[in-house]
């Protein structure tokens, strides 16, 4: 193994060794599938790269990709890697792709990474051409980008070593967000680490339904099995959401060994009617969960429901990571054959003293926290207090990470990079503690909201809401709160209402809801109107979202 190799080197090696092995099955609409063996997939990748090159795309060009699940997305992404262009996948939010707000965000994102190319669908191309745009980008539909132009000598220069191989959008305080630059060697480090840790090989069958614009879906769900020579069964995120029972059925029918879920997805699966939960899950060796905090109750509910279907709780793999660490960097080790631990701690000591005091699960004040495992080999992890001092076990502080898995920085945003990177350490903004060397995440210093694996900064929501006329600045706050119905967080917006508002409260709330949905692409769970003075601010007059959230959760 060589971390200096291009990302697809592992796949090509498997292809040289045994080209007739199945590589990927793409489950399409209506359940019909397209199959490619390794030889066919390689031919498609190289053909796509050559066609892109004949259209003028050159190694090092930044290519924004706005496509939904399917063959075109796969070929565009892998074709870019092969050619050495730098792909950047844009979110495809269910039913909001191509809306005016979505296109506005697309323009901001194209501007922020100075994209040379945009490859998309005919419908989005048409809408894009009709709006006012800031950034000039070469726009092609997939059919146009792969049209035979003229024969060129294939001259591919896939990214290697420190060169940027992929741009990962992540949330930020502005509509454009931030873009993490990921080097080829950081990605290789993560893929090789996970292949070893998950004990992944040519006999494995990996069922991926996560969107590829999510790091878990792209790196663990696609590139990792390609590198390991495993077979990929790729279904669309929308198909999973609409037909979760079919997902379970697919595990049974295709003897799937590895698959994925967010906590929201586990919640959805555990809520299926009994009749939909009969498939045999005995083939499953690794059930990888991440993207958002994984809850003890969600794991246990799933186990209870599926224990008669031969589901083995030792197959859980719980991970923790972020765009800046490529993919989950701390994870439980499934090779131990143990179910990931749950730590039961005193809720009062945790909230008031930052102490994780272990207690018996049956105690009324006990709360469960699921471990995220330990760092791998020389990957480093520390927990620090506000002065940067290392903390002892069972004391809560900020989680910091260091190692070859880290991103190279935010694209052309050195000041943003400096906010999170110091002396080679990534300051994650997440709060956690160590117990027996295992990491437990128990909160966030930053105000980030995570909805089913999608990260959103409250500033972005507040900015969208404040464009509604009739709202005074600083009289509105957004934060996330646990939603027990979905198993993830919901967006809560609290507005302070003065007597002389021009709009009635219901119309104001509806206008805010609409504006947030348009601009952020996610609908708030709840909008509340409260009298003046509800919102808590710091002594310097800044919003204290954390305190507002606590106040809301305590029904004050």
């Amino acid at each position: 193994m060589n971390f200096q190799d291009p990302i697809l080197a592992g796949f090509h090696a498997h292809c040289d060794r045994d080209p007739d092995q199945p590589a990927i099955e793409i489950i399409g609409e209506g359940g019909s599938s397209i199959y490619h063996n390794r030889r066919e997939l390689r031919a498609l990748i190289r053909d796509t790269a050559a066609r892109f090159q004949s259209q003028g795309i050159t190694p090092g060009d930044k290519v924004l990709i706005k496509l939904s699940h399917g063959d075109a997305l796969l070929r565009t992404l892998l074709g870019c890697f092969e050619l050495g262009a730098i792909p950047c996948l844009l979110p495809w939010r269910f039913a909001h792709a191509g809306s005016p707000g979505d296109l506005k965000r697309l323009d901001l994102q194209a501007t922020s990474i100075e994209a040379e190319w945009l490859i998309t669908t005919p419908a989005i191309k048409e809408s894009w051409l009709s709006i006012e745009r800031n950034w000039r980008v070469e726009l092609r539909t997939f059919a146009e980008a792969t049209a035979k132009n003229h024969d060129t000598v294939a001259d591919f220069k896939p990214a290697q070593g420190e060169a940027t191989a992929y741009l990962q959008f992540t949330s930020g305080t502005t509509g454009a967000g931030r873009t993490a630059e990921l080097s080829a060697q950081a990605i290789q480090h993560c893929l090789h680490r996970d292949a070893t840790k998950l004990d992944l090989g040519t006999k494995d069958r990996v069922l991926n339904w996560l969107p590829l614009y999510h790091d878990l879906g792209l790196f663990a769900g696609l590139l990792l099995p390609l590198l390991s020579g495993a077979r990929i069964i790729w279904m669309s995120p929308v198909r999973f959401l609409r037909r979760p029972a079919e997902f379970l059925d697919t595990i049974d029918r295709k003897s799937i060994t590895v698959t994925f879920a967010t906590n929201a997805a586990l919640h959805q699966l555990a809520g299926l009617p009994e009749t939909d939960t009969r498939p045999d899950l005995s083939s499953l060796k690794r059930f990888i969960c991440g993207g958002e905090p994984i809850r003890h109750e969600s794991l246990r509910r799933f186990e209870d429901l599926f224990k008669t279907q031969q589901f083995d709780p030792a197959s859980w793999v719980i991970g923790y990571g972020m765009a800046e660490t490529v993919v989950g960097v701390i994870a439980t080790d499934p090779r131990t054959g143990q179910t990931p631990r749950t730590d039961w701690v005193e809720s009062h000591a945790l909230k008031t003293n930052n102490q994780a005091v272990a207690c018996e699960p049956d105690k009324a004040t006990a709360i469960p926290i699921v471990t995220c495992g330990q760092p791998w080999h020389r990957d480093e992890l520390k927990i620090i207090d506000e002065n940067g001092t290392d903390l002892a076990e069972r004391v809560v502080g900020e989680v910091c990470l260091r190692g070859p898995f880290l991103f190279s920085g935010y694209y052309r945003q050195p000041e943003e990079t400096a906010k999170v990177m110091r002396d080679g350490w990534l300051y994650t903004g997440d709060l956690g503690y160590l117990a027996d060397g295992h990491l437990y995440i128990c909160g966030r210093r930053k105000d980030l909201i995570i909805v089913g694996g999608t990260n959103i900064h409250p500033e972005e929501i507040e900015a969208a809401a404040q464009t509604v006329s009739g709202l005074s600045p600083g009289r509105l706050v957004a934060f996330g709160a646990p939603n027990d119905q979905t198993g993830t967080e919901g967006i809560i917006v609290v507005m302070e209402i003065a007597r002389q508002e021009t709009l009635s409260i219901p119309s104001l709330e509806a206008a805010v809801r609409q504006r947030i949905t348009e601009q952020v692409g996610l609908a708030p769970q709840r909008i509340l109107s409260m009298p003046r003075g509800w919102i808590i601010k710091t002594s310097s007059g800044k919003l204290s979202r954390h305190k507002c959230r606590t106040k809301y959760l305590n029904h004050e």
Partner: protein, 84 residues
């Protein structure tokens, strides 16, 4: 019985308890672009429509326009029914 009589009332009844309290629910009320129905709500709505009207909604129909109003939903259901 015309389609509007047979399609819109059960959809309205289904949605009534699933949108924010006090929201209007006229034939032209924006449901998706207004954020009254979120993504998961829309997934549930498509499942409801498939069962209620014995249709199959293909993934490429998942655009805001097809689900944004009761009138649009009626048109989509009518079209998918006749395409069967």
């Amino acid at each position: 019985m015309s389609d509007s009589l047979s399609i819109i009332p059960p959809v309205r009844e289904y949605l009534a308890t699933r949108i924010p309290e006090g929201s209007p629910l006229e034939d032209q009320t924006k449901l998706v672009s207004s954020g009254m129905i979120d993504s998961m709500g829309l997934v549930d709505l498509t499942t409801f429509l498939e069962v209620e009207f014995s249709i199959m909604i293909p993934e490429e129909s998942f655009t805001v326009d097809n689900f944004d109003t009761l009138t649009a939903i009626e048109a989509l259901v009518t079209q998918l029914r006749s395409a069967k």
